[in-house]
């Protein structure tokens, strides 16, 4: 029996090591390529013949607006995270705690709206933004506005969490003379820390990958690009050979803070995606 178990464990370790190699291989490649000194796109060896920091120097050099793009994305991500969280909390509280006419209808119609493919409406949104002067030069606030405007429809997870907070707490507070606003601010929000962190984390990570709409709104105005738009262009341009290692370097710089943040808050993320089914 014992020997069988040991053999089983050895097999399990072997499988896990293989899985880990497959999963880490692209990232290792990415890091190594970002330090490669030789010119060219994908090369047929993994470890660079010559290590150099040229790619990173280029990103921060005068010929490249990488810092600008990075800040654009950071600004978008921070604002989207803050505003989305506030909006989602408001909507979730109203839908979870208040009972009003048309509540069910509202929830169902938002569910149906969510089934329309998002960027079908891209052209229309573009012209709405243009009307407000929020395209090209104003793409950064424009993108924030678009991401935030419909964020209320993502109430689902947060409302589910609010539903698990006992109603008797609310009732006790009402008897003590608290208004609904006070209950939300003083009681519900402090009790919902995990789900608030989850909402903010997801909202913060999304803009780093936003390619489709960002490329459309900022079209042709490179000062307003975000990192995804700018760096995707590098890979798809004709000068892919020259930009590939720079893309890798930029990718590393984007990935490190986002990944670190995610890893630090992973616990809350799991709690969020499992809808609070798992506690601790």
């Amino acid at each position: 029996m014992k020997r069988k178990m040991i053999r089983g464990n050895i097999l399990a370790y072997a499988v896990l090591v293989i899985i880990s190699i497959i999963w880490l291989f692209p990232f290792v490649g990415l890091v190594l390529q970002s330090f490669r000194g030789e010119y060219g796109g994908m090369v047929n060896y993994l470890i660079p013949k010559q290590f150099s920091l040229d790619n990173y120097k280029f990103l921060f050099g005068p010929d490249c607006k990488f810092v600008r793009w990075y800040l654009n994305t950071l600004v978008i991500a921070v604002f989207v995270a803050i505003i989305t969280t506030v909006v989602v909390i408001c909507v979730s509280y109203a839908l979870s705690r208040m009972r009003f006419k048309g509540r069910k209808l509202l929830m169902n119609s938002w569910l149906v709206l969510g089934m329309f493919p998002g960027f079908l409406t891209m052209i229309c949104l573009y012209f709405l933004l243009k009307l407000l002067g929020l395209t090209q030069e104003g793409a950064v606030p424009g993108l924030i506005l678009i991401s935030v405007a419909s964020s209320g429809m993502g109430y689902y997870v947060c409302k589910g969490y609010f539903d698990t907070i006992p109603k008797s707490l609310d009732e006790a507070a009402i008897i003590d003379g608290a208004s609904r606003a006070q209950i939300l601010w003083k009681m519900t929000i402090p009790l919902s820390k995990p789900i608030i962190i989850y909402t903010a984390l997801v909202a913060f990570m999304a803009p780093w990958c936003d390619y489709i709409f960002a490329s459309y709104v900022a079209f042709g105005f490179s000062d307003s690009y975000n990192v995804a738009v700018a760096m995707t262009r590098w890979v798809w341009t004709n000068d892919y050979q020259g930009y590939f290692t720079r893309f890798c370097a930029g990718g590393i710089l984007v990935a490190i803070p986002v990944t670190a943040l995610f890893m630090a808050l992973q616990k809350y993320y799991v709690e969020g995606v499992t809808g609070g089914a798992v506690k601790g």
């Binding site: 149906v112 990958c209 990935a255 995610f262």
Partner: protein, 462 residues
């Protein structure tokens, strides 16, 4: 279901009729303040000292009327034709004509404003009636202070939802209505404002989709892309689900060390932005990519494998690489849930002589399917519209002769739609495809949702 709907519509008509009757009685029984409020919104409230409500209603009326007169009407009057004056040249100077795009967009906006005005007007009438009844019954009206405070208390939902609903309305609902309208027009590369006009064409675009009365193979392309979209969504959802579960069970194995490390390694793919990881992985499998290079160095193959240029291979690759993204996600969710299964269940099964596979099939799997049913559905819907994986890996290529409108072998409906909008400016067809995507999503959601064990039998595992 149908019967219920019929009753719903009937009920709606009854409500509407009651509403209209109520408006008339309010006018008949109303005093002069109430009656004048039918014309000037908020008048009654202002005269009765309820300034907060009165000013709000009056403000809405003024703003809406100004909007309609100053801005909306000039577009709304052309709504049926979407403009008649083409842009033309007079003495070599361009004279801009009507812009169909703006006529359609702003007309819809104006219609919405009118609808909101009617709604506000109705609230205004009802409020006047209520006030009058209260006064004649000798009750006191709520003070302004009380009114404003109620927005933070019993009417707090209105305060909370006002801005989010406005946002969703302007930036989601309005654009969707607009795009649905576009599906019934001839808005494409030959009819682009401001130079050209477009106009209503009825069901023409839908006829083209189903191949009625047109020679092109647009219809067959649509169904071929739809077929691949469904295949993709099926494999992408269920393969990642079962393999992810397998990995989670493996890591959960008793006596295995470094559980946290294994999980962290896998979770990297969720954390790293997809445009970085997927673009890199896409390049890895290119003809001159590192995978082909190593396979050739080791002498396993003599010529590079055309991962992205062979249609079947490209499809398989996309599903496989999606596992790389998807397995960690499932693993993360399943790991927590596995711990929720009572261990006594396994103990007693073991005593009964069940082997590991039997235990998985009889205990683990039913429980998982029950709990993660809704999650699977959202995953499936998400995969139907999974733009990132397809587009970042190979942009829907390779192109094929059998497909029209620029579709490639690995294009999903959603990436095809994107290409049509961006590359070909074929908005009318893109709108039609968008509506089809919606229908497919809605039908699948409805069918699956009703068949789900956790919906049918809520207490199965409680």
């Amino acid at each position: 279901m149908g019967k219920k709907k019929g009753r719903g519509i009937g009920a709606a008509f009854v409500t509407l009729w009651e509403d209209i009757k109520d408006i008339f009685t309010t006018f008949k029984e109303g005093d002069w303040k109430t009656r004048l409020s039918f014309l000037i919104m908020g008048f009654g409230e202002l005269m009765r000292g309820q300034f907060a409500r009165g000013l709000a209603l009056l403000g809405i009326q003024t703003a809406a009327n100004l909007f309609i007169v100053k801005f909306g009407w000039q577009y709304l009057k052309d709504f049926t034709t979407l403009g008649t004056v083409e842009t033309h040249k007079v003495n070599r100077v361009t004279q801009y004509g009507d812009n169909s795009f703006f006529i359609l967009l702003y007309s819809l906006l104006t219609i919405v404003v009118i609808a909101l005005l009617i709604l506000a007007w109705r609230i205004n009438v009802r409020d006047n009636r209520n006030c009058q009844r209260k006064l004649s019954a000798g009750e006191k009206l709520p003070t302004n202070r009380r009114d404003l405070h109620s927005l933070l208390d019993e009417h707090f939902d209105k305060t909370l939802l006002a801005l989010p609903m406005l946002g969703i309305f302007v930036f989601t609902v309005l654009p969707i209505i607009f795009m649905v309208c576009i599906a019934f027009t001839n808005y494409d590369v030959d009819h682009q404002p401001p130079a050209k006009l477009f106009t209503w064409v009825g069901l023409q675009n839908f006829k083209e989709l189903f191949g009625i009365g047109t020679g092109g193979n647009f219809g067959s392309t649509f169904f071929s892309v739809l077929g691949w979209t469904l295949i993709w969504a099926f494999f992408a959802t269920f393969l990642t689900y079962f393999l992810g579960m397998a990995v989670a069970i493996l890591i959960n194995k008793k006596g295995l060390k470094l559980k946290k490390l294994w999980r962290t390694i896998l979770v990297m793919t969720i954390a790293v932005p997809q445009f970085v990881s997927l673009l890199y992985v896409g390049k890895m499998f290119a003809v001159d990519g590192i995978v082909n290079a190593y396979l050739m160095q080791w002498g396993w193959i003599s010529a590079p494998i055309p991962f992205w240029t062979n249609a079947t291979l490209a499809r398989i690759m996309i599903i496989v690489i999606n596992l790389w993204i998807g397995i960690p996600y499932t693993m993360l969710i399943v790991t927590g849930l596995l711990m929720n299964i009572p261990s006594e269940l396994y103990e007693s099964a073991r005593i009964d002589g069940a082997n590991a596979f039997q235990m998985f099939r009889k205990i683990t799997l039913p429980y998982m399917l029950f709990v993660t049913g809704p999650f699977l559905l959202t995953q499936f819907i998400g995969n139907l519209n999974n733009f990132n994986v397809i587009f970042l890996l190979n942009q829907g290529n390779p192109k094929s002769m059998g497909l029209s409108n620029g579709a490639g072998a690995t294009d999903l409906l959603i990436t095809w739609l994107y290409k049509m909008t961006i590359n070909d400016s074929n908005y009318k067809i893109a709108a039609v495809i968008g509506i089809m995507v919606f229908l497919v999503t809605a039908i699948i959601s409805l069918v699956v949702y009703n068949a789900m064990p956790s919906i049918k039998d809520e207490e199965g595992f409680q």
